[in-house]
C-alpha cells in the first residue's frame, strides 16, 4: 500500500492547528483544539486501511471494499469526541459562571511548592528539622498567609 499524500498533509495540518489551540489557556480554544486533533487522529487511523467501495456485502465486491476495521474504530471515536466536547463545553461554561472567564488556572498547591523551593525550605520545616516543637501555630499561620498570596498571584498571572 502506498501512502496517500493528501491524507498525510491534512493530518499534519489538523494536528498542528489542534496542538496550537490546545496549548492556549481559554477552555473554548482548548476544546476546539481537541476537536481538530480528534479529526486529525481519525484521519490518521483511516490511512491505515485502504480506500475503496463501501464495505457493504452485495454492493461492493470484496476485493474493492475499503478496510472496515479502522472505520469501526473511528466511528466510536467520533461519538466519544461528541461526549467529550459536551463535557468540556459544560466545564468552560461552569468556569465562566464561577470565575467570569474560561481560562485554565495554574494549580495553587503547585505554586506553593515552587515558592518553597525558591526559599530553599523543606516541605514541613519544623517536623524534619531539629527546631523547637512548639511553633506549630505560628508555622500554620505563615503557611496560610503564603497560600493566600500565591492564590492571588495565580489569579493575576
Amino acid at each position: 500500500m502506498t501512502p496517500n499524500l493528501t491524507y498525510v498533509i491534512v493530518v499534519g495540518v489538523l494536528v498542528a492547528a489542534g496542538v496550537t489551540l490546545l496549548l492556549e489557556r481559554s477552555l473554548t480554544r482548548v476544546l476546539m483544539g481537541v476537536i481538530l486533533l480528534g479529526n486529525g487522529a481519525n484521519l490518521l487511523l483511516l490511512t491505515g486501511g485502504r480506500a475503496g467501495g463501501a464495505p457493504i456485502v452485495g454492493n461492493t465486491p470484496q476485493e474493492e471494499m475499503s478496510d472496515p476495521l479502522p472505520q469501526a474504530m473511528i466511528l466510536t471515536a467520533i461519538v466519544i469526541t461528541l461526549g467529550m466536547t459536551a463535557f468540556l463545553l459544560a466545564l468552560a461554561y461552569r468556569s465562566w459562571h464561577l470565575n467570569g472567564h474560561d481560562e485554565v488556572q495554574d494549580d495553587v498547591e503547585d505554586r506553593r511548592i515552587m515558592a518553597l523551593a525558591e526559599r530553599d525550605e523543606g516541605p514541613d520545616g519544623a517536623d524534619s528539622g531539629d527546631g523547637d516543637d512548639d511553633d506549630d501555630d505560628d508555622a500554620q499561620t505563615d503557611n496560610e498567609r503564603s497560600l493566600a498570596a500565591t492564590a492571588d498571584a495565580g489569579r493575576a498571572g
Binding site: T6, A17, L46, L69, V79, A86, L91
Partner: protein, 946 residues
C-alpha cells in the same frame, strides 16, 4: 504454633470490643493470649531439653514454594517463653497502669497483643521470608505503639524515626535472605544452614543481614532510635524495648551464629559495633536524669554486650549469650515496670526530684533492688550467672578475645555504675550539697499489689534462674552445642570456686561503685555527644530527601496545564521525530490522491483548520471548526466509508448546536490575546508536532506489510453476524466489547455534563421535568398550537418542527434497524433522533423539549446501558459468550419469513444511549442554562423595580 499466632490475631481483633465492655480489666483477658503461649512453651520443655525441635509446616502457595514453615529449637523456645511470659505480665501490669477512660486503650490492647503475635511468629519461623514478614510486622506494630499519642509531635517523630531506621535495615536483611535463599534453593533456615555459599557472596549476604539485625537491636550507628522510642508508654518500653522487639536482632544473630560465625565480616563487625555500643550506651546512661532514659541507654549498652558475646562464636560464649538474653529480659522488664510505678506514684521520673522513695515504698524498692542486682551482676541473680559464663568463655579464647574481655569488663564497670545511679536516683534519701538545698521528700501514692505483682514476679524469676542455674543450663545447652567444641563445655552455675572470672567480677563491681561515687557529685548533662552519631546522619538524610522532593517538584510540577502539555509534546517531537529523521524509513512510492475530489475536500479542511486556529471570535472559530469537520466527512465519503461520513455529518451538526447553546452565554471574543512570544512558541510546537505526525502517517501507511486482519470480516459478517454492513457488524458483534466500553464512556460524559450544569442535586430532578409544572396540564390538546410561553420564537418553525418531528424519529428507527445491512446503525440513528429533539428545542425552548421527550435523560441512558448489557448477559445465560449474537429465522403468520439477529438489541442499547446523551446535553446546556439565566434576569429586574 500457628494456632497460637492465630489466637493472638483473633484477640487483637476483639480486644477493642472487650475494652469497651470491661474497661482496663479487659487487659487481663487479653493477657491470656501470650499467657497461653507461655504455658504451651513450658509443656514443650522436656522435648527442648533433649534437643528435639518442634516442627510445623503448612503449605501456603505450593506453586511458588511458599510455605508456613515453623520450627522451634532451643533458642526459639527461650524466646517464646520470654515473649509469652513477659507479654502476659506486662499486659496484666497495663491493666493497672492505664485508666479505663484512657481514649486509646482499646487500640493499645489490640496493637500490643498483635505485636506479641508477630513476635511469636518471628521467633518460631523457619522460613526466612516468613521471618521477614513477621519482622516487618513487629516494626509496624512498634510504630503504632511508640506513636500511641498522635497528638504529640515528639511521639510522632520518634515513631517515624524508629520505623524508618528499622525498615531500612529490614530491607537490607531481606536482600541478604534472598541471596542465601536463591543459592540454597530453599528459604528454610534449617536447610540453608547446611548449604551456604562461600567467599564474597556469603560475606555480602551476611553483612546485609547484620545490617537488619543491628538496626533492629539499636546497635551503633543505629542506637539513636531507641532512646527516642521512650516516648511510648512505659509498658510498651518494658516489652518492646527490653524483652521483645530489640531482642529480634539479637535473636537473629544467635540463630545464624552457629552456621556463619566463621564468615569473614561476622566477628569483626559484631565485636566492634557491640563494644562501641556497650561503652557509649553505658556512659550515656550515667548522664541521664530521667530514670526511663537511663534504662533506655542501659538497654542500648546491654544489647551491645549481647552482640559481643553472641558474636564471639564459641560454644561457651553462645551459652553465656542465651543466658544473658534470658537474664536481661527479666531484669530490664522489671526495672521498666518499676519506673512506670514510680512515675504513677510520684508523678515524676526525674531523679533530681525523687527523694526518700525507698522508705515510703519498701516493697517497690526490694523488687527494684532484686532486678538491679541482676543487672549489676551480683550473685545469686541470673545476671551474675550469665556474666560469669561470658567472662569465663572469653578468658579461654585467643588474643582478640582478651581485648574483647577488657572491653566487656569496662562495660561491666559502667553497668554497675549506672545501676547504682538508678537505685540511688529512684529510692535514696538525698542529702543536699552546699549549692542545692535538700530536695523535698517526695509524696507517694500507695502502690497496689496487683500493680506491683507483675514486676515482682519478673524479679523473682530472675532470682530463680540464678539459683536454679544448673537446671537452666540443661535447658539451654542444646543451643550452645550447635557450635562444635573439642573440650568439654562450660556449665552455668552459681559457684565455680575461686576462679579468675570471679575475681574479675569483683573487680568490676568495685570499679563500678567507685565510678558512681566519682560521678555522683558532678553536674549532670542530659545528652552525650558522640563524635559520630547515626542520629545526625538520619536527620541530614531525611532533611535532604525532603529538600530534594521540594526542589524536584518545584522544578517539574509548575502547575500550568500548557506547560505540561508542552513538555509532553516536545518529547513527542524529539523522540519519535528524532527517530524518524535518524532512521529515514521514507517509502519511495506514494500517490497524490485516490480521486482529485479528495484534494478539493482536503483544501477546504486545511484552510478551515488554519483559520480556526487564528480566529479571534468564538463563533467564527466554531464555524470554521465545523467546516473542517464537514470537510472530513466528505473525505470519508470519498474514501468509501459511508457510515463514517453519516456519523461525522450528524456529530458535527450536534456539536454546532451545543456550541451555539453555550457560546450564547460566553463573551463573543476570546479573552485578551496571549503574549506574542508565547504565542509564537505555541505555533512552533504545533507545527513541529503536526510535521512529526504527518511524517509518522506517511511512514506508517507505506510500511504496511502484513495482510489486514479485516480481510475475513466481510465473510464473517454475513455468516456469523448475519449482516451485510461490515462496519456495523464489527461494532455490534466482532468488536462488541469495544463498543460496550465506549457507550459506558458516553454515559459517564453525560453524567458529568449534567453534574457540571445542575448546581444542586435537587435540580437534577429537572432533567426529566414535565412542562407547566406537572402532568395535570396535558400537552396533547396543544398539538400544532404554540404555547404562551414561547417568547421571541417563530411560530411557523415550531409548527413545522412538530410536524416533522415524528417523521424524523421514525426515520431514525428505520436507520437503526436497517443499519445491519446498509449505512446506519445505533450511533447514526441515535444522533438523528437527538437532532430531532434539538430542532424541537431550538424552535420552542425547554417546554417544547419537554413535550417532545417527557422522560428523564438519566432514565434513557440507564435503559440503554441496561439493554446493551442485558443482551450480553442473555447470551451468556443461554450458554454462549458475553455479547455473542445468534441468528433467528422464523415464520410469522402475517409478516412471513423473519430473519433476526440478536445483536440488534445491542444496537438498540447504543441507540438509547446516544439519544440519552443528546437529550442530556439539551437539558443541561440548553434548558437548565436558560432557566438559570431567566432567574438571574428576573432577580435583576426585581432589584430595578425596588
Amino acid at each position: 504454633m500457628l494456632v497460637l499466632v492465630a489466637v493472638h490475631a483473633l484477640t487483637a481483633v476483639i480486644a477493642p470490643a472487650l475494652v469497651r465492655l470491661w474497661g482496663r480489666h479487659a487487659l487481663y483477658l487479653v493477657a491470656l493470649a501470650p499467657g497461653a503461649t507461655l504455658v504451651w512453651a513450658l509443656t514443650q520443655a522436656s522435648g527442648v531439653r533433649s534437643g528435639d525441635p518442634v516442627v510445623e509446616t503448612v503449605p501456603w502457595v505450593p506453586q511458588l514454594g511458599l510455605e508456613l514453615a515453623l520450627r522451634m529449637g532451643t533458642l526459639s523456645w527461650l524466646m517464646v517463653v520470654l515473649v509469652g511470659g513477659v507479654g502476659a505480665l506486662v499486659l496484666a501490669y497495663s491493666a493497672r497502669y492505664f485508666r479505663s477512660d484512657d481514649p486509646g486503650l482499646g487500640r493499645f490492647a489490640a496493637v500490643f497483643v498483635a505485636f506479641a503475635g508477630a513476635m511469636l511468629g518471628l521467633v518460631v519461623s523457619d522460613d526466612l521470608l516468613l521471618l521477614y514478614v513477621f519482622w516487618e510486622l513487629t516494626t509496624v506494630f512498634s510504630y503504632l505503639l511508640i506513636g500511641s499519642d498522635p497528638a504529640k509531635r515528639a511521639s510522632r517523630r520518634a515513631a517515624m524515626q524508629a520505623l524508618l531506621v528499622t525498615t531500612l535495615g529490614g530491607l537490607a536483611m531481606l536482600a541478604g535472605f534472598v541471596m542465601l535463599g536463591q543459592h540454597a534453593g530453599t528459604y528454610r533456615w534449617s536447610e540453608i544452614a547446611g548449604n551456604l555459599p562461600g567467599g564474597g557472596y556469603l560475606a555480602v549476604a551476611v553483612l546485609l543481614i547484620l545490617l537488619g539485625a543491628l538496626s533492629k537491636s539499636a546497635i551503633f550507628p543505629f542506637s539513636f532510635w531507641l532512646p527516642g522510642a521512650m516516648a511510648a508508654p512505659t509498658p510498651v518500653s518494658a516489652y518492646l524495648h527490653a524483652a521483645a522487639m530489640v531482642k529480634a536482632g539479637v535473636f537473629l544473630v544467635a540463630l545464624m551464629g552457629p552456621a556463619v560465625a566463621g564468615t569473614a565480616p561476622w566477628r569483626p563487625v559484631l565485636l566492634a559495633t557491640g563494644l562501641i555500643t556497650m561503652f557509649f550506651g553505658g556512659w550515656a546512661a550515667l548522664r541521664q536524669i530521667d530514670l526511663k532514659l537511663l534504662l533506655a541507654y542501659g538497654t542500648v549498652s546491654q544489647l551491645g554486650l549481647l552482640m559481643v558475646i553472641l558474636g564471639a562464636g564459641s560454644r561457651d560464649a553462645a551459652l553465656a549469650g542465651v543466658a544473658m538474653v534470658l537474664a536481661h529480659a527479666l531484669f530490664k522488664a522489671t526495672l521498666f515496670l518499676v519506673v512506670g510505678i514510680v512515675d504513677h506514684a510520684t508523678g515524676t521520673r526525674d531523679l533530681r526530684e525523687l527523694n526518700g522513695l525507698g522508705r515510703r515504698a519498701p516493697a517497690l524498692a526490694v523488687v527494684a533492688g532484686l532486678a538491679a542486682a541482676s543487672m549489676a551482676g551480683l550473685p545469686p541473680m541470673a545476671g551474675f550467672v550469665a556474666k560469669e559464663a561470658a567472662v569465663e568463655a572469653l578468658l579461654h579464647g585467643g588474643g582478640a578475645d582478651l581485648v574483647v574481655l577488657a572491653g566487656v569488663l569496662l562495660g561491666s564497670v559502667l553497668t554497675v555504675a549506672y545501676t547504682l545511679r538508678f537505685l540511688w536516683g529512684a529510692f535514696a534519701d538525698k542529702v543536699g550539697t552546699p549549692d542545692t538545698p535538700d530536695p523535698p521528700t517526695t509524696t507517694v501514692r500507695a502502690v497496689s499489689w496487683p500493680f506491683l505483682a507483675p514486676a515482682a514476679v519478673l524479679a523473682l524469676a530472675g532470682t530463680a534462674v540464678g539459683l536454679l542455674a544448673p537446671a537452666v543450663d540443661r535447658l539451654l545447652a542444646p543451643y550452645a552445642d550447635l557450635y562444635d567444641s573439642a573440650e568439654p563445655g562450660y556449665h552455668l552455675a552459681l559457684w565455680h570456686g575461686l576462679t579468675p572470672a570471679l575475681g574479675l567480677s569483683v573487680l568490676a563491681v568495685a570499679g563500678g561503685a567507685g565510678l558512681f561515687h566519682l560521678l555522683r557529685r558532678e553536674r549532670v548533662r542530659a545528652t552525650l555527644r558522640l563524635p559520630f552519631d547515626g542520629a545526625s546522619v538520619y536527620k541530614k538524610s531525611i532533611g535532604g530527601v525532603d529538600r530534594l522532593a521540594v526542589e524536584l517538584t518545584g522544578a517539574t510540577q509548575r502547575g500550568s496545564l500548557p506547560f505540561y502539555l508542552g513538555v509532553i509534546l516536545v518529547v513527542l517531537v524529539l523522540m519519535p521525530g528524532g527517530a524518524l529523521l535518524a532512521g529515514s524509513p521514507w517509502p519511495q512510492r506514494f500517490h497524490l490522491w485516490d480521486t482529485p475530489l479528495q484534494g478539493v475536500a482536503a483544501a477546504v479542511v486545511v484552510v478551515a483548520a488554519v483559520m480556526a486556529a487564528r480566529a479571534l471570535r468564538r463563533l467564527t472559530a466554531m464555524i470554521l471548526v465545523g467546516v473542517a469537520g464537514y470537510g472530513i466527512a466528505l473525505m470519508f465519503v470519498l474514501h468509501g466509508a459511508p457510515d463514517l461520513a453519516l456519523t461525522q455529518f450528524l456529530v458535527e451538526t450536534v456539536t454546532i448546536v451545543m456550541f451555539v447553546l453555550v457560546l450564547r452565554r460566553l463573551p463573543a471574543k476570546f479573552s485578551e490575546r496571549p503574549i506574542r512570544s508565547s504565542r509564537r512558541g505555541r505555533v512552533a510546537i504545533g507545527v513541529a508536532v503536526g510535521a512529526v505526525t504527518a511524517g509518522m502517517a506517511y511512514v506508517a501507511a507505506g510500511a504496511r506489510q502484513a495482510i489486514p486482519i479485516s480481510v475475513g470480516f466481510p465473510d464473517e459478517a454475513v455468516s456469523y453476524g448475519g449482516g451485510k454492513n461490515v462496519v456495523n457488524v464489527t461494532l455490534v458483534d466482532i468488536r462488541a466489547w469495544d463498543t460496550m466500553g465506549e457507550i459506558a464512556v458516553l454515559v459517564v460524559a453525560a453524567t458529568g455534563v449534567a453534574s457540571l450544569i445542575f448546581r444542586h442535586a435537587r435540580d437534577l430532578d429537572r432533567r426529566g421535568d414535565i412542562p407547566g409544572g406537572g402532568r395535570a396540564e396535558s400537552t396533547r390538546p396543544r398539538w400544532l398550537t404554540t404555547g404562551a410561553t414561547a417568547r421571541a420564537q417563530s411560530v411557523i418553525l415550531q409548527v413545522v418542527t412538530r410536524l416533522l418531528f415524528h417523521v424524523i424519529v421514525l426515520f431514525s428507527i428505520y436507520l437503526l434497524f436497517s443499519g445491519h445491512n446498509a449505512p446506519g446503525g445505533g450511533f447514526a440513528a441515535g444522533l438523528v433522533a437527538g437532532l430531532a429533539l434539538a430542532v424541537r428545542y431550538l424552535a420552542g425552548g425547554r417546554t417544547e423539549l419537554n413535550g417532545a421527550a417527557p422522560v428523564d435523560a438519566g432514565v434513557v441512558l440507564g435503559a440503554g446501558l441496561f439493554v446493551a448489557v442485558g443482551t450480553g448477559v442473555a447470551a451468556m445465560l443461554l450458554g454462549g459468550e458475553f455479547l455473542q449474537s445468534a441468528l433467528l429465522d422464523f415464520h410469522l403468520p402475517v409478516l412471513g419469513h423473519i430473519h433476526f439477529v440478536t445483536s440488534a438489541f445491542f444496537d438498540v442499547g447504543v441507540y438509547l444511549i446516544v439519544v440519552g446523551l443528546v437529550l442530556d446535553i439539551l437539558r443541561s446546556l440548553g434548558a437548565e442554562m436558560d432557566r438559570q439565566h431567566e432567574t438571574e434576569d428576573d432577580e435583576v429586574r426585581e432589584k430595578e423595580l425596588v
